[in-house]
């Protein structure tokens, strides 16, 4: 178990290193300059600017400085917002994104699991087909399409909920729903498959032979076993939330990381782009690691004898 964790952490570090390096070099390759009106300046002024941001140093030196600084926690200074450290910018913006992400994750997984269980219990009835259809639609249709359509029909036409911005709890409803569609469908699909699988196993038949009621069987016996593999899906779900948040935040005008990221792309604000990139990568990798460890803990077969499950 310990060896397993160490191995995963090792991979994590390698991955982050590669991401950071990749980001750095790709940034260097982008043609053009991050500074507005660069061409209008003369040689001396240009050099001053370049020197200030360390852009005149040879590339390997820049690379080294960059990496060292990053480990120290210094992600550089934003080009757009002069003198604001990237870390500060990110810190300001993390709040809304985290809230949105957590809300969507919790709401999405819970609803998805519930749908999946119901679909499995009423297999091959209309309830099942309905739930499966919702799951397919949720998985296929991109979240921003949902967002746009919901914004139009619910906010603009019906006026039930605010269109955009982030000024109170009711502002979070539409974005959360839009972002949660994907997790709902993945969780539902997965849960349904696992539940049906578990319901067909011998120990469930034995539980029935013991005289257990339908409810006891579904909840006490089946659910516990079916939930375990669902944990493995949480990782990719978290990732999808990160991708989705970029667009959702734009559409709903939410002052989060995603919106920042997109803005900095259009402004060629290298430090911010790189910093946010790294952050996303770290989040991603950490979530996957946590999920892997969690799985090992929840399944008693792995936890107690360190043996293989199934």
């Amino acid at each position: 178990m310990v060896k397993y964790i160490l191995q995963r952490v090792g991979y994590m570090i390698i991955t982050l290193f590669i991401v950071a390096s990749l980001t750095f070099f790709l940034m260097k390759l982008i043609p053009g300059s991050p500074f507005n009106n660069f061409e209008k300046l003369n040689e001396v002024q240009r050099n001053i600017l370049l020197d200030k941001y360390g852009l005149n140093d040879p590339v390997p030196v820049q690379y080294y400085n960059y990496m060292v600084n990053m480990v120290k926690g210094d992600l550089g200074i934003s080009f757009q917002f002069d003198n604001t450290p990237v870390t500060e910018l990110i810190a300001n913006r993390i709040g809304p994104s985290a809230q949105l992400g957590l809300q969507a994750m919790i709401f999405g997984s819970l609803l998805g699991i519930l749908l999946g269980v119901i679909a499995a219990l009423k297999q091959n009835t209309w309830v099942d087909y309905g739930a499966t259809f919702i799951a397919v639609v949720g998985k296929s249709v991109p979240s921003f399409i949902f967002a746009g359509l919901m914004q139009y029909y619910i906010s603009v036409k019906l006026g039930w909920l605010p269109v955009m911005l982030w000024k109170g709890p009711e502002y979070t409803i539409l974005p959360t729903i839009a972002l949660a569609m994907f997790p709902i469908s993945i969780a539902a699909r997965f849960m349904r498959t696992e539940m049906i699988d578990v319901l067909g196993s011998d120990y469930i038949t034995l539980a029935r032979a013991k005289g257990a009621s339908r409810f006891q069987i579904s909840v006490k016996h089946a659910l516990r076993n079916a939930l375990i593999p669902v944990v493995t899906v949480l990782g990719p779900l978290a990732v999808s939330l990160m991708t989705g948040s970029l667009v959702i935040e734009q559409i709903f005008g939410i002052p989060g990381l995603g919106e920042q990221f997109v803005k900095s792309i259009s402004m060629n604000d290298y430090p911010v782009i790189m910093g946010t990139n790294i952050l996303f990568a770290v989040l991603f990798v950490v979530v996957i690691l946590i999920v892997d460890i969690l799985y090992g803990i929840i399944d008693p077969r792995i936890r107690i004898s360190g043996g293989k499950a199934k």
Partner: protein
């Protein structure tokens, strides 16, 4: 002797993509108080389906009990709702399954799995249920039960898991225990232990057992009476002695002959050719006819009724009809018949024709 269970004219079908499979085509038998009845047959003969039907554990979405009754404790089990059946399952009738590796819930402690029926059916408190569970573990021969009770199934070996399954089944002292090939998945030495355990427990708890198996050796070990199934019907039923030493149905002959014993010499082992019938479209006459070297024209036309061989022994084969020619059963069977006292039946004269639908002992009520 009292009858504790009566199965009358049971017909069960499965609705599949390819059509209706008539898995059980008219099964009749009784179970007497305190006895062990073995049901023998090939895969697909209907043994498991019959017993699962008694417990009403067949999958609801594609199985149908087309007709028949299962009488227990004054009720017809085919007519009860699932809620009513839940009270009976685990309490009056219990079941143990074939594969101990998959019968137990992998994420639930053993103790809790045993305590479940105790709490549900006998309203025990958690504390007394736990004590009783430890008692049960001792009863089935698991050492250090106080520690084991908090462990998970994967920490037990196959044989021990099967013991736990038995403990769960017997927790509420059921009147009937159905054992569906409980030793098939175990090593031979463990097999013997489990069979001994079951016989022992049967005496202690005074329960009646229906034992399903395809292994005649096991049958000889545990059974009082034996029912042989083929193609969804019982083809022969009698006491263990009668079936082993004086079988009458050609299928039973096949089974007995294909089992080597101490007296088998250099002869070739007999094996029944062919494969079981397709129950999507059951054959018109005797289902065994296509594989029966002793088949007669009438076997292809009509299903044979039960012919009485003795008060306890019935066989459904036209060979027992007064007009049927005398045939020589295989060597292995003849050898056994010579060891049998009071031979009646095919080898020594005609048997009485009795179109009885529910064979069983006639005396007593």
């Amino acid at each position: 002797m009292d009858k504790i269970l009566q199965v009358k004219d049971l017909n069960i079908s499965f609705h599949t993509f390819s059509g209706e499979v008539k898995a059980i085509r008219g099964v009749n038998f009784d179970l007497y108080n305190g006895e062990t009845l073995a049901i023998v047959g090939e895969s697909g003969s209907g043994k498991s389906v019959t017993t699962k039907a008694i417990m009403r554990l067949l999958p609801e979405h594609n199985s149908e009990i087309k007709s028949g009754e299962i009488l227990f404790d004054g009720k017809d089990l085919t007519k009860l709702t699932d809620k009513q059946m839940q009270k009976i399952r685990g309490h009056d009738i219990s079941m143990i399954f074939q594969d101990p590796m998959t019968s137990l819930n992998p994420t639930m402690k053993i103790g809790n799995q045993i305590m479940e029926p105790l709490i549900k059916h006998q309203n025990m408190s958690k504390h007394s249920a736990k004590e009783r569970a430890i008692e049960l573990l001792k009863l089935v021969g698991i050492p250090k039960p106080e520690i084991r009770i908090n462990q998970y199934p994967h920490q037990f070996s196959g044989g021990m898991r099967q013991r736990v399954v038995i403990a769960i089944a017997l927790a509420c002292n059921p009147k009937i225990l159905i054992a569906d090939e409980p030793t098939t998945a175990l090593d031979v030495t463990i097999q013997a232990q489990i069979l001994e355990l079951m016989k022992d427990l049967q005496k202690k708890i005074d329960t009646s057992i229906i034992f399903i198996t395809h292994d005649l050796g096991v049958v000889a070990n545990v059974a009082d009476r034996v029912a042989v199934m083929y193609g969804g019907k019982i083809v022969e039923i009698g006491t263990a002695d009668e079936i082993f030493y004086n079988p009458q149905h050609p299928y039973t002959w096949g089974l007995i002959s294909s089992m080597p014993d101490m007296d088998t010499e250099d002869e070739e082992l007999y094996s029944i050719p062919g494969t079981p019938p397709d129950l999507l479209d059951p054959p018109k006459g005797d289902a065994f006819a296509p594989r029966n070297p002793y088949a007669m024209k009438i076997d292809l036309e009509q299903e044979p009724p039960f012919f009485k061989v003795s008060d306890t022994h019935y066989a459904a084969t036209w060979l027992l009809h007064p007009d049927a020619p005398k045939v020589e059963p295989p060597e292995a069977v003849k050898r056994r018949q010579s060891q049998y006292v009071g031979t009646v039946g095919v080898a020594s004269g005609a048997a009485k024709l009795e179109k009885s639908q529910s064979p069983g002992i006639k005396e007593g009520k």
